[in-house]
Amino acid sequence: MGNNKIENSTNKITKKDVTKSMWIYYAGAELSNSYERLQSLVFCASMTPILKKLYKTDEELSAALKRHLVFFNTEGIIGAVIQGITISMEEQKAKGEDITDDAITGIKTGLMGPLAGIGDAIIWAALMPILISIFLPFASNGSAMGGIMPLILYPLITILISYYLIHNGYTLGKKSVVSMLHGGKMKQIIFTANVIGLIMMGALSASYVTISTPLVFQFTSGTQIVIQDILDSVVIGILPLTAVFVIYTYLKKKGPNYNRILLSVVVFSIICSLLGIL
């Protein structure tokens, strides 16, 4: 589907319309997010420039709008491909092809889960912390570049991805996703992003998790043992690394109980300060 569009249609969806739809979704993907139907409102809003062009009577337009107010939620960057596919399906439907409401909703709900998984892994879990961490040393040294660069680069890169995906989804239709999900290419990208992300996190941990002990044992013979020196001679950075993995293990076992960990760190710090251990 999608490749044999009728060229002389007066209601033809232009590239500009598709891009406009992308911008509406990008602008508001989280803005109107509600517990009840999550991103359905913004998805419907993003379809308005398309639907207005395709459906001329109020009844048809109303039906189409309602079709897109059903539950929808995905990752907003990678999810742009769903928009592209939906636009092409709506266009076929408006031209009188036999596409039911259920077919459109089915495609949307079928794709939103897997694409959210891919999007979260690439856009949020990898790209964002990697960009922040590359420029973080600037910030630690008091330079504004540490904040300005991620603020420019992150939106820029992700908007380009969205732009590519929505147009790809529109012109190739379902095929665009099939190749994306089954080609192994996505796995490849996620793997690459994960490896870069993990190495960067390791490097940053070494610089910014700073834990050392002031403990010194004084013997009557005059010799003293500095505990931190002993630890360093075994493995440098053993205390920071231990801290990361203790919290990591807790998170893995007990789930993301963020506030309890925060509280524990506070209590632990006060006790160690009073005892003079750290």
Partner: protein, 249 residues
């Protein structure tokens, strides 16, 4: 800028960044490290502002990457309060971070309030759809949640920042040494939480050795972050190449 002006600016900033206008743009705008650029500009102390922002960023690195958009802690509220107060009261980054933590927790409830009120607009949109009113749907998706968000968010930051600066200065003067030192310890440990969260979202257990490589590349090989980034990208691309071949065979 006066304390009044700064408080108004931060209230608006909190509202605007949490409005989430622009999916990835706003999510970067609400990070402490970008927020501190603006705080640096209005307070005139860029250096301290960036240092506090960087320290706070480490605590919240990874928070935004939690799947499903459910924030377990809010870096925006924490930053909008702790960075300006920290800069104006001339706090060390460690103390400012300790100040930020409780507000990060409160921010979660504010966000829940937003998502609950947002349910009102979707029902309005249902009515607009019935009438084929596309402009109404756009209003329900953008304008109404923006207005409601301002009413919910602006006052919190404005009031705390406005009254907080003088209070913070008084408190700093009477903090005992042992508590000061606890803050320093906390400032050293809390980034570990940020990294641990990022580890759980990025990776499968099998990939953890890559984290260890990065860690000791800095400590033993004494590479800086940019050097590590370059090597990391090369290693990842090369490994991807081998991995692909294996899967094909």
């Amino acid at each position: 800028m006066s304390v009044l002006g700064i408080s108004i600016f931060m209230g608006v900033y909190y509202w605007f960044s949490r409005l989430r206008l622009g999916y990835t743009f706003s999510s970067m705008l609400l990070q402490p490290v970008t927020m501190s650029v603006f705080v640096g500009l209005i307070t005139g102390n860029m250096e301290l502002s960036m240092k506090i922002g960087a320290g706070l960023q480490l605590v919240y690195l990874g928070v935004t990457s939690t799947p499903g958009g459910n924030v377990p802690s809010d870096p925006a509220l924490a930053g909008c309060i702790a960075i300006p107060i920290g800069v104006l009261a001339n706090m060390s980054p460690e103390v400012a971070i300790a100040l930020a933590i409780p507000f990060g927790v409160i921010g979660v409830f504010v966000d829940q309030l937003r998502r609950t009120t947002n349910a009102i607009w979707i029902h309005m949109a249902d009515n607009y759809a019935e009438k084929a009113d596309t402009k109404g749907i756009l209003r329900a998706a953008f304008l109404y949640p923006a207005i409601a968000g301002f009413i919910i968010r602006f006052p919190i930051v404005f009031i705390i920042d406005y009254f907080g600066v003088s209070a913070a200065q008084k408190i700093i003067d009477i903090i005992p040494q042992w508590l000061m030192h606890s803050f320093e310890i906390m400032g050293g440990i809390l980034p570990a939480l940020g990294f641990a969260i990022t580890l759980t979202v990025i990776g499968k257990k099998k990939l953890i050795p890559f984290y260890i490589i990065g860690f000791f590349a800095v400590l033993y090989l004494e590479l800086n972050t940019m050097a590590v980034a370059i090597f990391a990208i090369c290693i990842a691309l090369l490994l991807g190449l081998f991995k692909m071949k294996e899967e094909v065979v």
